[in-house]
């Protein structure tokens, strides 16, 4: 059996515990050390196994409490890398400590960029549009249930797999970041989200046309689209953003007034 497989088997239970603890990586998020406290606490089960001596373990833990930040779901990759490199440090590998510090610094930016782009800028808006539209169309609670299940299938799956992948890759973690899975998942989410956004537009046109006013209703729908679009555009000389929520509030007030004056329906 290869040295890696022996090591992976020895730390199998600890890696699971690290993955579980990674769910609290942001618990003590702060403007100074960012996610570092959560990161240190998460890898502690692995450190316990690697460093039986309490004093040495505390020293290594302290090194991990300085500063760390990444996308919360992908932080587990860095945890896996840290465990693998900690084992090398414990074996006395030359320069391993310096290499780990450098790697974690580099990973902060990469894991943040990949994770934020996948989860916050692609997966969540895509799922949110689809679920919101499905809820509006069906009036059922099921879109919300499917939303939570679909999100967690990806997000918690990445969390669990991240420790394993980071641990297997160690200093060669670049190959995890270059995996086509990230680009594929992002592309798929964005295409699905574009389909859902288009469907929301089509549904809006159909609803406004059927609300009793025909073309008048459709014109109101286009006016709403134009207003919330403009609200998302930088306005004013200082480039401030007019929050779309305020635009929505204006829309609701106008629609309410129309509703009030016309006695119950859109014109």
């Amino acid at each position: 059996m290869s040295p890696y497989r022996t090591l992976a088997r020895r730390l199998k239970g600890e890696r699971r515990r690290v993955a579980l603890r990674s769910t609290l990586v942001q618990a003590v998020w702060n403007y100074d050390s960012l996610q570092a406290i959560g990161f240190g606490w998460a890898i502690l089960p692995g450190l316990e196994r690697i460093r039986p001596d309490v004093g040495e373990r505390a020293k290594r833990l302290e090194a991990h409490l300085e500063t760390f930040n990444a996308n919360p779901y992908l932080a587990s990759v860095a945890m896996g890398v840290a465990l693998r490199m900690e084992e090398e440090i414990a074996r006395g590998a030359a320069g391993a400590e310096r290499r780990l510090a450098r790697l974690l610094r580099a990973l902060r930016g990469s894991l943040g960029a990949i994770g934020d782009d996948l989860f916050w800028a692609s997966w969540r808006p895509a799922l949110g549009i689809a679920a919101a539209l499905a809820a509006l169309v069906t009036g059922s609670v099921w879109p919300a249930v499917v939303y939570v299940l679909a999100w967690n299938a990806l997000a918690q799956g990445v969390r669990a797999a991240g420790v394993r992948a980071g641990f297997a890759a160690g200093a060669g973690v670049a190959r995890v970041l270059e995996d086509p899975f990230w680009a594929g998942a992002r592309r798929g989410a964005r295409r699905g989200g574009a389909f859902a956004a288009g469907a929301a537009f089509g549904a809006g046109v159909a609803w406004s046309a059927s609300a009793g006013g025909g073309w008048g209703g459709v014109a109101i729908f286009f006016a709403i689209v134009a207003l919330v679009w403009l609200a998302g555009t930088r306005v004013g000389s200082r480039g401030r953003l007019l929050p779309p929520a305020f635009a929505f509030l204006v829309v609701v007030v106008i629609l309410g007034a129309i509703h009030h004056w016309t006695g119950g329906t859109l014109p």
């Binding site: 609290l24 998020w29 403007y31 916050w120 919300a144 469907a199 059927s210 919330v228």
Partner: protein, 229 residues
């Protein structure tokens, strides 16, 4: 609203505060999920689903990237839905009232979140000092303290919001704005919001444009010939 309902909503406020960023992030704190839960608690599940979808559409474009400031979608979803559901019963102007409450709650929740992060900074400093002295239990204790504080802040801001909603709802009752926006108008406004947010956040171009056009045809056909509640 009964005491039991207020208690359940306050507990929900604590839970969604934690889910939003300090713990697990399962997205049960999103308005699309919080709305139906609030609806179930207040005995109006269908209205909860509608308002959850509406408030989700407002929050779609918000992205918690890095240390960016962003509105608290969880509190906005919770209190916005409560305002909509209780406002309807009191004859106020529930749609505008609910969206106003949601927008204000989002801003206040952002402030509370930043307060929690600053307070976490002091907790983190204590944890680091203890670990330097050799305590391995300090990070775990720090996390327990931060989570407890987060839950307490979430419950407190929700309870305060419920009080404000009750007062505001009573003041609006019987006003010239009496009457409510019908569900169809809300559907139209939310669909516009979702479509715009989708294009802005996800962008168009290449196959995404094709997907959006196909989606528009499918959405139109679904509603025009499929019928909706």
């Amino acid at each position: 609203m009964t005491g039991a309902e207020a208690g359940a909503l306050t507990a929900l406020g604590a839970l969604v505060f934690l889910d939003q960023w300090p713990a697990v992030q399962t997205m049960v704190s999103r308005p699309i999920v919080v709305g139906p839960i609030v609806g179930a608690i207040l005995g109006a599940p269908a209205d909860g689903v509608l308002w959850g979808a509406v408030l989700e559409s407002i929050s779609l474009a918000v992205q918690p990237v890095g240390a960016a400031r962003y509105p608290d979608a969880a509190l906005a979803g919770l209190l916005g839905t409560v305002a909509a559901l209780t406002g309807a019963g009191e004859g106020g102007f529930p749609a505008a009232w609910a969206v106003s409450v949601a927008v204000a709650a989002g801003a206040v929740g952002d402030g509370v979140g930043r307060f929690q992060r600053r307070w976490n900074g002091r907790t983190a400093a204590v944890v680091r000092a203890r670990v330097a002295e050799g305590s391995l239990a300090a990070p775990g204790r720090g996390i327990a303290i931060a989570l407890s504080r987060g839950a307490a802040l979430g419950a407190l801001q929700t309870a305060t919001g419920l009080g404000i909603i009750a007062t505001g709802g009573a003041l609006l009752a019987g006003s010239p704005w009496a009457g409510q926006l019908d569900a169809r108008a809300l559907q139209v406004a939310a669909a516009a919001m979702a479509a715009v947010a989708g294009v802005r956040v996800l962008g168009l171009g290449g196959r995404r444009t094709t997907a959006a056009v196909l989606g528009a045809l499918a959405g139109f056909a679904l509603v025009a010939w499929g019928g909706t509640p």
